[in-house]
Amino acid sequence: MTETRPLPPKFEAWFASRGWQPRAHQLALIEHGLAGRSVLLIAPTGAGKTLAGFLPTLVDLAARPKWKPGTRRRGIHTLYVSPLKALAVDIERNLETPVAGIGLDVAIETRTGDTSASRRQRQKLIPPDILLTTPEQLALLLAGSDAETFFEDLKTVILDELHALVTSKRGDLLALGLARLRAIAPQMRTVGLSATVADPDELRAWLVPQAPDAPPALSEIVTVAGGAKPDIRIFEADESIPWAGHSARYAYDGLLAEIGRHRMTLIFVNTRSQAEMIFSELWRINEATLPIALHHGSLDVGQRRKVEAAMADGRLRAVVATSTLDLGIDWGDIDLVIHVGAPKGASRLAQRVGRANHRMDEPSKALLVPANRFEVLECQAALDANYVGAQDTPPIRDGALDVLAQHVLGRAVAGPFRADDLYAEVVSAYPYRRLGRHRFDRVVDLVATGGYALRAYERYAKIKLTADGTFRLTHPRFAQGYRLNVGTIIESPMLKVRLGGKARGHGPVMGGRLLGEVEEYFCEQMKVGDTFLFAGEVLRFEGLRETEVIVSRTKSSDPRIPVYAGGRFPLSTFLAASVRRLIADPESWGRLPAPVRDWLALQKEHSLLPRPDGLLIETFPHEGRFYLVLYPFEGRLAHQTLGMLLTRRLERFGLRPLGFVATDYVIGVWCAADVGAALSAGDPTPARLMEPDMLGDDLEAWMAESYLLKRMFKACAMIAGLVEKNAIGSQKTGRQVTVSTDLIYDVLREHQPDHILLEAAWADASSGLLDLRRLSDMLSRITGRIVHQRLGRISPLAVPIMLEVGRERIAGEADEDILRAAADDIIREAMA
């Protein structure tokens, strides 16, 4: 039997020379490519996903006649878009091997924020065959007046790590960019490369144009079954496991021993500060001076590149890293992945574990190190999930309106457009398929004049409808403004950390090496002389100079500013359900370490075990206060929201709540009144307390005065271009922007509460920071299944949250308290 082999002989020969066989999914992708079909490839790490994505392009380019001087320059053939610029650089390196090996004459170049102006210019004149870039750079290219000639020959767009892109505003920006590309190059097809996802059909629909009012059109799909089962263990220590906290200090000796036993260990943590702490603690006990390095997004790029190179060369034994190493970057020969802290999502765990042994047929080896008892449960649940291949990425939301506003301006920057055409284009993008014409027109109005009922800015319009029926940019300076502000990443403002001298007289001594960047809020709390951990050493804060933090080195080994090391990601819905099931089923506890088993057994004896489908509420007095502890296991964000709503409600019932604290698992509220007695007396009943109607008026009232919405609004206002991230010739500091967007927010909310950007901010807040959908799902899940357990003292399961109560700042602490504390005692009494 002969198979038809789509692979040209040159390619066959190259595979053979490496002792490889082309894999079935690689061939399938070539076939789809030859037929011009868009396709989604779902494959585990190590399956040769990237090569599979590029093979159809390479095959096509190999068959292409050579370009003859004097003929028209050919535009880009294949565009590759990745969420990380490091990934683009890495892919360029990795493609060199097959391109050289097969003997292809293919020009491959990257275009990122780091690409020099001269190189950008040259790329426009002589486009490479394959261009590797990011969503923001694509938006900029599309806003160029030459976008049409640049892209008209485009055959393929490869979208890497698609699962990571589509759930964010960057994904929205990219989806709109793709719609634009399709209009310029109708022959263009897409190739999505993705790790495991909950709903592949959503990604398939995302890849292809959608028709109005039709069921979703889907791309082809090629799925590669998982490779060898990973070998994952949960760290077992002789010492007992901490009740609370995130340091995992108990495990450091054991971690060092593991590093010693392996060639190259990758240690993943959830936050930068955790990375710093573990790195410095490991070095404290690293008597064998094993080469251990640190890698996180705040470090200076130069320093990161050094670590990456050392990894690739095998000169390191371990790297402590955050999510900057999450995505498909392939460095070095890692034979153990350690995950400190709970993984928060099974998909994320699978992705990180996949970093070990980047070969599909060998099992990856991983070690989970829970930092506290609840994390033991979460790790066990994640471990179960990984074996069953469960997937838990969030669903794709409707496209954001602020991103659409940015796209509309970008479209005008590229040249005149008709609203009808642009609308048709926009709704062909999957995230925007449900966008009505009226909302689209409101967004266009937002771009043109701000979208205000008071038509104050008509004569300053950025884009104007002209006599020929097209919208046109009214002034070139708006094009410049667009280029400076493109993108959707509104990070907390970052400050550069620079080594300088000790503060003398009027401020710090300047002029040393750049160490990296930290969030502005991190520095807000510091005074000159405070010490903190950064870039693996203890630094002394000397002061701020414009956007730079000046620090000096210290001999001290004890940083004074504690680092909060909670998780950045909330517990995923899927894992939460697994944790609830695990707790409720004593049969399954055999897999847990003895201290955790005993802990759950004690809970069963002294109180109740939370049921997987219900909600357990415990009440007990402690040191003169009355505590209410809930066990929803719905993740920190949903719990924060619930905590805020619950305290409002308790207040109304006269139970005098004083504060609350929320973790990924539990909410603890403390009251001055006996909340246990009240619930037992049915005043209110537990069901009344938890009634889903709290998502109505209570939520509205709270949101109205919440800083959360202000923060969301700020991001929306910047993305939509209402205020500028970067103004021409001046870099506004984050502080000035905060003040003005807060003022704008207050004025707008009072005078035009239905403004489209307030709508956008509300949509962001409810799906993002508030996790409203999850909260409302939870409230309806538990209806009729709420159990109140009134206790005389703390239950075993409540111990971790009670420890957090002492440790965390009380949520909702008022500005007034801070002012009162700072105010002068004597005059304060007089003025009170």
């Binding site: 205000y452 800015y457 002034h475 807000e524 005074k527 209402l722 003040v739 003022l743 002068d824 003025m831």
Partner: protein, 238 residues
């Protein structure tokens, strides 16, 4: 009141008001200076039509700032019922601002001006007085022991009441709070900006250097219903 600090005994007057170069004044939480004895209210840096000024440069901030500012001003004047009002300069964001006022806003401002003995102190944003709103234009004006002008003179100036700098203070250790503030050392006072879109300049900024006697410097931070007096040791930079 217990043990006053050395040199502090004259922060407040016997009547519980603030002693400003001998005048007994109130720093109102709304951000205006109130001098009950003179039935005088002073308001600084209204920056009317700042929004539309931004708008003319393509930054389409909500054009409701004038309305919001005038509404707040009407509320505080209605509460304090002064006979005299001094608008301490930069009342209008630019020379064209008066012309850009929406008719309704123009009318409500004209009504406020007509309701009191109104003085427009010239500012750097509005060196020329408004043309059609009434009121008396001055470069600066003295009342009793106080002199009212827009921009503070360099160095010490006892009895000067100015605006221009938009002072704000920031305090707090674990988490910080930043508020507009009156700053005063008992001799001179700089008022917070009143306009809805006016940001604040941190009182630790170099622009404030040399203007005050540091040991006696207090920032009176605005809050909803009161002002919080804060000493310079508590200030933190932005």
């Amino acid at each position: 009141m217990t043990a006053l600090r050395q040199g502090d005994d004259d922060v407040l007057t016997a009547g519980g008001l603030i002693n400003l170069n001998g005048a007994a004044v109130r720093f109102d939480p709304a951000g205006v200076l109130h001098w009950p004895e003179e039935r005088l209210v002073v308001v600084a840096d209204l920056h009317l039509e700042k929004g539309s000024s931004q708008g003319s440069r393509g930054r389409f901030v909500p054009p409701y700032d004038t309305r919001a500012t005038l509404r707040a001003l009407a509320a505080v004047l209605g509460r304090l019922r002064p006979e005299r009002v001094i608008a301490l300069g930069d009342s209008f964001h630019d020379g064209g601002a008066e012309g850009r006022l929406a008719p309704a806003d123009f009318d409500s401002l004209a009504a406020l001006v007509a309701g009191a003995d109104w003085t427009w102190v010239a500012g750097n944003h509005d060196p020329l007085p408004p043309a059609g709103l009434g009121g008396r234009p001055v470069e600066e004006i003295a009342v009793g022991s106080l002199t009212f002008r827009h921009a503070p003179r360099p160095g010490r100036a006892a009895g000067e009441v100015a605006g221009h700098l938009h002072p704000a203070a920031k305090v707090g250790r674990v988490r910080s709070v930043r508020r507009r503030a009156f700053v005063s050392d008992g001799g001179r006072c700089i008022l917070p900006a009143f306009g809805a879109y006016t940001g604040g300049l941190n009182v630790m900024d170099a622009a404030f250097a040399g203007l005050f006697e540091r040991a006696r410097l207090i920032a009176w931070m605005l809050s909803d219903n009161r002002v919080y007096p804060v000493r310079s040791a508590e200030f933190i930079p932005d």
